[in-house]
């Protein structure tokens, strides 16, 4: 298959259509607007529907209805918009419906900035809406991976009947790279016999719902959800790691910062340093086990993010106190440079921090 040069945001749209998504509900916000614009242009051509909702709240609830009616459906937004969608995400998770949600993160809190950031890590991986629920969070670090994860994300959502979030940032959304569209590994996807399609007089009514007024029933429902999340943890962890068996220092980074960390690592290697990388691709479920493979002589872990250290908690859980965990991050739309990371690694090497 030939590769085509595509901008991140548009590549998401193309990948979604490739995956059979025909419905998009959204509301404009920078830096992801090229995606709804792409869908507005392309979906009508294939008999699909693009609808610009009056708000993010309405958009996610349209997704909720469309998914309940059995469709492959997606929405996208950026940080403040995702905050508004949290109510709906909680309902969709509670009602166990599949959908794809894209968050092209920008700086926060509040209105923040329109520059790239990774400040919604907590919100994405810990919930954000109410209740004990989880969303599968996929964090691509290049456009090919973005495309692959969007396509596979729909399958993951359908397989587990759960929302899946693509967590990117303004950089991933805006940059252009060549991509090809590949089929994901085939999965045994369950039939959507729960969907509200009209009974046609042939079956009992289907009810899409997340209300359980009896305490015992709600506990049962939560146990069922937790069992599902356990299965996701066992089957869906994705991680890339590099040289962690030999490294003296291991960098933990995802998405855009992982790309930059790779440049820093090759620079450091030229100078004779042994630096490894753990790049979580799924932020939830988190690849905790991968950190077990780090060699015993490792001097420390450096977590690099475009926030003030949100992933540090997960890295600490993963290393169980075996290695010191350091952090380097920039915020406000500032992207860490390879030079800054190199310097920080050298400080760890030199025992300065």
């Amino acid at each position: 298959m030939t590769k085509v040069l595509m901008r991140g945001n548009e590549a998401i749209g193309a990948a979604a259509i490739e995956a059979g998504c025909k419905y998009f509900f959204g509301y404009p916000i920078t830096p992801q607007s090229e995606l709804p614009e792409y869908m507005a242009r392309e979906l009508p051509k294939i008999g699909g529907i693009f609808l610009q909702a009056e708000s993010e709240i309405a958009a996610i609830n349209m997704v909720y209805g469309a998914s309940g009616a059995g469709a492959r459906v997606m929405t996208s937004s950026s940080s403040p918009g995702i905050s508004l969608k949290q109510e709906g995400i909680s309902y969709i998770a509670g009602a166990e419906l599949p959908c794809l949600i894209v968050n092209i993160m920008r700086g926060g809190p509040g209105l923040g900035s329109i520059q790239p950031s990774q400040t919604d890590y907590f919100q994405a991986t810990r919930g954000g809406g109410n209740g004990d629920y989880r969303v599968v969070v996929l964090a691509p670090s290049n456009i090919q991976e973005l495309v692959d994860l969007v396509i596979e994300g729909f399958d993951i959502a359908d397989q587990y009947r759960n929302p899946v979030m693509i967590l990117g940032d303004g950089m991933i959304g805006q940059m252009m790279e060549p991509v090809e569209f590949k089929k994901p590994k085939p999965r045994d996807l369950p039939k959507k016999d729960w969907a509200t399609t009209g009974t046609k007089g042939k079956r009992k009514p289907n009810i899409i719902n997340s209300l359980y007024l009896e305490a015992e029933e709600l506990e049962e429902h939560n146990k069922k959800l937790q069992a599902k999340y356990q299965a996701i943890k066992e089957n869906e962890v994705k991680v890339e790691s590099y040289n962690i068996e030999n490294a003296d220092v291991v960098i933990a980074a995802y998405g855009t910062t992982a790309r930059i960390a790779k440049t820093a690592i090759s620079q450091l290697e030229k100078e004779g340093y042994k630096v490894g990388l753990i790049r979580p691709i799924t932020l939830w479920p988190y690849p905790y086990d991968e950190f077990e493979k780090i060699n015993d002589k490792c001097k420390g872990i450096l977590t690099v993010e475009m926030n003030t250290g949100q992933m540090v908690d997960d890295v600490k859980i993963a290393v169980k106190g075996k290695y010191p965990v350091h952090f380097y991050g920039r915020t406000g739309g500032m992207v860490p440079t390879p030079g800054e990371i190199v310097e920080k690694v050298k400080e760890i090497y030199g025992g300065e921090i």
Partner: protein
Amino acid sequence: MTVVFKKTKGLTDVQTHYCPGCTHGIVHRLVAEALEELGVLDETIGVAPVGCSVLAYNYFNCDMHEAAHGRAPAVATGIKRVRPENFVFTYQGDGDLASIGTAEIVHAAHRGEKISTIFINNAIYGMTGGQMAPTTLVGQKATTAPYGRDEKHCGKPIRIAEMLATIDGAKFVERVTVTSPAHVRKAKKAIKECFQVQLEGKGFGIVEVLSTCPTNWGLTPIEALKWLEDNMIPYYPLGNFKRPEEVE
């Protein structure tokens, strides 16, 4: 023996949880009968709100989708866009539709979304225990308006039917009540006509039903019907505000 009245297939055999004398139950029956009589029950997807009718999904004998507080019109939009061939309705209270979900209902109407809305205006928040609604009458007491609604403090009650009738995409708007057999018959007619508008693909339709909440009004069921007629109807006039122009 001729059957004069029987239970509609549009309702399940589940006993409703509504308080004695509450008119939610009557409206459920009318909606269900309309679905059955129009022959669309098997094609219907209903959207239940948050409020006293939150369990409506257990009562209507068709596919149902529960929505977050106020969001039913957005959920219905998602369903209808995916399944334009199905009949889609929302059933919403006045807290749900006229407060938290005003944006959703206004915009669903504005887009001319081909859905139908049954709007229960009982001038109060029933489920949460009688707090003030945007529809609470001036001077009417509620738990969060213990001295009576003061229009200088929180404005006058909102008239949804009149407001939505100004929107082009809304093709059918009528206000009814169910306080007497004659009113019940009129309400049923309005609901059927409203549903017909969707079935003919004309656009959005809404029936506002003035309804009682004896429990939170602190009245007996009979007193509640009278209070509605004496106090609500003068402020919320009954009648049709809009129907599609007859096209020959």
